[in-house]
């Protein structure tokens, strides 16, 4: 049974796949294992789980790659965003924290797969770089903003906006 009123939303970069969680996710964590690294093209997978019955697809559906016979990894076939992690026999499913509309609200509390943690992982927060994208290159930031094809961080009634051109593979240059 879902917690009354809980509705936490998220989705992929292009907006073809959107979801809502109807309970608070548990065990927010990052996993450094090599399978998670490859699935996310990242140093770790950030995940938190809910009951499958509390996971609602509100637009589209993920493509699935089975990284093992036991493991389904969901992603958007149109833009590639890694979205979900699910053991086929489990009643729970995890979502990628970076795909939440408000990722700052769910901080990881543990790290798994530390046998593959990269040696320089602990040093990342201290790396040089204290400027925003606007400060780094305002002209570039302006160009990106003018043709931003990313779905906004909230649900939309219609997406892409009427009149927008195709954004997928082979889309026409639209600048």
């Amino acid at each position: 049974m879902s917690e009354a009123g809980t509705r936490i939303t998220g989705g992929c970069q292009c907006g073809a796949v959107r979801y809502a969680l109807h309970e608070e996710p548990t065990d927010p964590h990052i996993c450094h294992c090599r399978m998670c690294q490859k699935a996310f093209g990242s140093f770790f997978a950030p995940l938190a789980g809910v009951a499958v019955s509390a996971f609602e697809l509100t637009r589209g559906e993920p493509a699935i790659f089975m990284s093992s016979d036991q493991t389904e990894r969901g992603f958007c076939r149109n833009c590639g965003t890694p979205l979900t992690f699910h053991y086929v026999e489990s009643p729970r499913i995890a979502v990628a924290l970076g795909t939440l509309d408000e990722p700052e609200t769910l901080a990881p509390r543990a790290q798994y797969g530390i046998e593959r943690r990269l040696a320089w992982f602990a040093a990342l927060p201290g790396l040089p770089g204290d400027r925003t994208t606007e400060e780094d290159d305002p002209a570039l930031a302006g160009k990106i903003a003018a043709t931003n094809h990313q779905h906004p961080d909230h649900d939309t009634a219609v997406w892409p906006p009427a009149g927008a051109r195709s954004r997928g593979q082979g889309s026409a240059r639209d600048d």
């Binding site: 543990a110 160009k143 990313q150």
Partner: protein, 162 residues
Amino acid sequence: MTDVRITGGCQCGAVRYAVHETPYQVGICHCRMCQKAVGAPYFATFTVKNASLEWTRGVPAVFKSSANMERGFCRDCGTPLFNNWIPNDVVHPAIATLDDPSAVAPEYQSGIEARLAWTTDLSGLVAVSTDDAFKGYEALLTEIAATDHQHPDHDTEVWPPA
């Protein structure tokens, strides 16, 4: 062409690449566009010239997150593979897709306007190995290992295996 040859690819092995240049400008980007592309708090990439990147198996799919920004991924398994600002003559592959990501350490961070507060102390979180995490679930871990569909971290002549 130099003697440098550094290989990598996606999780399923449908897309494999080699870079023929020593990676430079290695960094992590926290911007919200990069977060969404990888479903994670930042995108970690290195830089090589376009001419130094060779696709040795398959080709990536591309999503244009803005008019001039291509984000490459594997259409079969979803692995995010690279960023490419089209007007430049360089490309930014994902460090974690290298067969040996430990060889390419980040040197800077950018896009900090969107940096998630919780990224500052991740290394201090309770740390558990995969073997320890699966205590009591050894059969599941054995089954995963026995049916691992991930491409190995080296080039292969034939994939998937016959």
